[in-house]
Amino acid sequence: MLAPRLEASLAPLAARPLRARTNSVARRAAIENCLLAAVPRETYRRLAARLEPVVLTFGEILYEPGDAIGHVYFPGASLVSLLTLADGHLALEVGLIGREGMVGVPLMLGHPVSPVRALVQAGGTAMRMAATDFFREFRLSVPLQDELYRYTHALMAQISQTAACNRFHVVERRLARWLLMTQDRVKSDQFRMTHEFLAHMLGVRRVGVTNAARRLQQRKLIDYRRGNITVLDRDGLEAAACDCYEAVRDMHEGAPTGPATRPATRTATRKLRISAAA
């Protein structure tokens, strides 16, 4: 057994590389999330002190309807679905949050309780912040408020567009839209997904998803094998998707801008600057 003194002297050495790694993870994930990347550097520094890097795993439930929101999440490479429930088991995806957003918007709107289920749909990095810390920072920082308000607006548009889309468009086109939205957020051509999960997302029976996926596969737009989806032809998939995809993408890119709205490129430059600083 090592003497307690030796153990104590080793401790800082052991801790150092770990801390360094955590820091680099933190920085990388922060750059990944567009909201965090878009706030001024001073604001970000203050936020970073409270942010905690986490790895979200596929299928993890962050909140159930009625749960208190303990943390807000800023996804990096991960992807979180917002599902509304009916009768306790019938679900429908109403929102999809990736690197462009934040999970836990109700907290910012003054409700500490989530009205939806937040389900991790693609595992990966994310930053999280305790609700109390977030609330304090949110009240202090005007740039953060502006970014989050704008994001809330885009999320609202996404939810209402999804509602109309679910009503009128056939499964195949909705599946194509969903795959495109997922691809945009995970920034990868390949991701894991089961038919059952997709059925939940689109609010249809599993058979419906299987048939729709087969038709997209026959058109050589995607490859679907053992739960792995690969997007083969993005342009083709965009043509196969309904118009709702374009409308929502435009919202997130800030297409209908006025003098009050910051152009989308600003986020990109800010991102670059932060990465240079890191």
């Binding site: 917002l82 509304t84 429930l85 009916a86 009768d87 019938l90 679900a91 429908l92 109403v94 929102g95 918007v105 109700p106 910012m108 709107l109 003054g110 409700h111 009205p115 939806v116 009240r139 502006d146 308000y149 704008r150 809330t152 607006h153 885009a154 999320l155 609202m156 548009a157 939810i159 209402s160 567009q161 999804t162 509602a163 109309a164 889309c165 679910n166 009503r167 009128f168 468009h169 609010g203 309904c242 118009d243 709702c244 409308a247 435009d250 919202m251 209908p256 801008t257 006025g258 009050a260 709205t261």
Partner: protein, 299 residues
């Protein structure tokens, strides 16, 4: 506050601000243009004498903040069928509704439309002005003639810069709106037309604060995104069960508890989210009762 005469004849000089916005081309709204609605706002104007505090959000404000806002509020009539905001139209004002009913809905490229949220005296139109998004891809159309007070977005920005009660209330409303939208989406997907019709009638009546809805089956079909025959059939079943009475483009609710039992849980979920705004509202309601006038809202 600018005093206006709501029913001045054309050409008469008043402070009345009529929105120069196109009328909705939904054919189902046309029969209303001259008939049942002509008398409705007039009656309202006489009996209720619109005041901003009829809007639940304004009514919930602390007295001093409410007084500060008053001079900036501009009175606007909302004739039936008019579009408050079109798709991708820049939202320059925040409309606090004091009467009437406004639906927000999407029109898809193929022309199909579906309502995703209705707003009445409990809410505002023009959330994009608040959140800084500029515009929304959906439309807000007046379903039931009413009245609103509007606040320019520039003044709104100033008002909410400091941590105001108005901002807190508006953000809560945004939350309720998001919850309503999401729940309507899942309801449209999984629940029967009859359940949806019940939910829709109940949520409209809550917002109007009345027991009767002036609405044709065709308009309801547009809002729910279904065929008219489906609505007529479902309404027929509800009428047969003695829950509602339909006639001449009006739907009267005869048995509200029965209708509530017939609907899906989505109605209760949305109502709960909306009711969370109430604690602060009650305080103000008390204030109105004691200081200004008896409360007019039944929500």
């Amino acid at each position: 506050m600018r005093r206006v005469d709501l029913h001045a004849r054309e050409g008469e000089e008043t402070g009345f601000c009529l929105m120069n916005i196109p009328t909705l081309e939904l054919p189902s709204l046309l029969p209303y243009a001259g008939t049942c609605f002509a008398a409705r706002p007039k009656k309202r104007a006489v009996s209720a004498a619109c005041t901003p505090s009829q809007n639940h959000i304004l009514a919930a404000l602390p007295a001093e903040e409410y007084e500060r806002l008053l001079p900036d509020l501009e009175s606007v009539a909302l004739p039936v069928g008019s579009t408050v905001y079109g798709a991708d139209e820049r939202e320059r004002h925040l409309y606090f509704l004091t009467a009437g009913l406004v639906a927000r809905f999407y029109v898809t490229a193929s022309g199909a439309s579906a309502e995703f949220a209705v707003t009445g005296r409990e809410g505002v139109i023009g959330v994009a002005a608040l959140l800084g998004g500029g515009s929304t891809p959906s439309r807000a159309v007046v379903l039931n003639a009413g009245h609103a007070y509007r606040l320019p977005s520039t003044l709104l920005k100033e008002e909410i810069r400091h941590d105001s009660a108005l901002l807190r209330l508006l953000l809560r409303y945004v939350h309720a709106l998001i919850a309503q939208t999401g729940q309507n989406a899942v309801c449209n997907r999984h629940h029967s037309l009859e359940q949806q019709l019940c939910r829709w009638i109940l949520s409209c009546l809550d917002r109007l604060g009345s027991n009767e809805l002036v609405m044709t089956h065709e308009l309801i079909a547009h809002m729910l995104g279904v065929r008219r025959e489906g609505v007529t059939e479902a309404a027929g079943r509800l009428q047969h069960a003695g829950l509602i009475h339909c006639g001449r483009g009006r739907i009267a609710v005869l048995d509200r508890p029965g209708l509530e039992a017939r609907t899906c849980e989505c109605y209760a979920v949305v109502k709960r989210e909306c009711d969370r705004m109430l604690p602060e509202l009650r305080r103000r309601e008390l204030y109105i009762t004691t200081r200004l006038r008896p409360p007019l809202f039944a929500w």
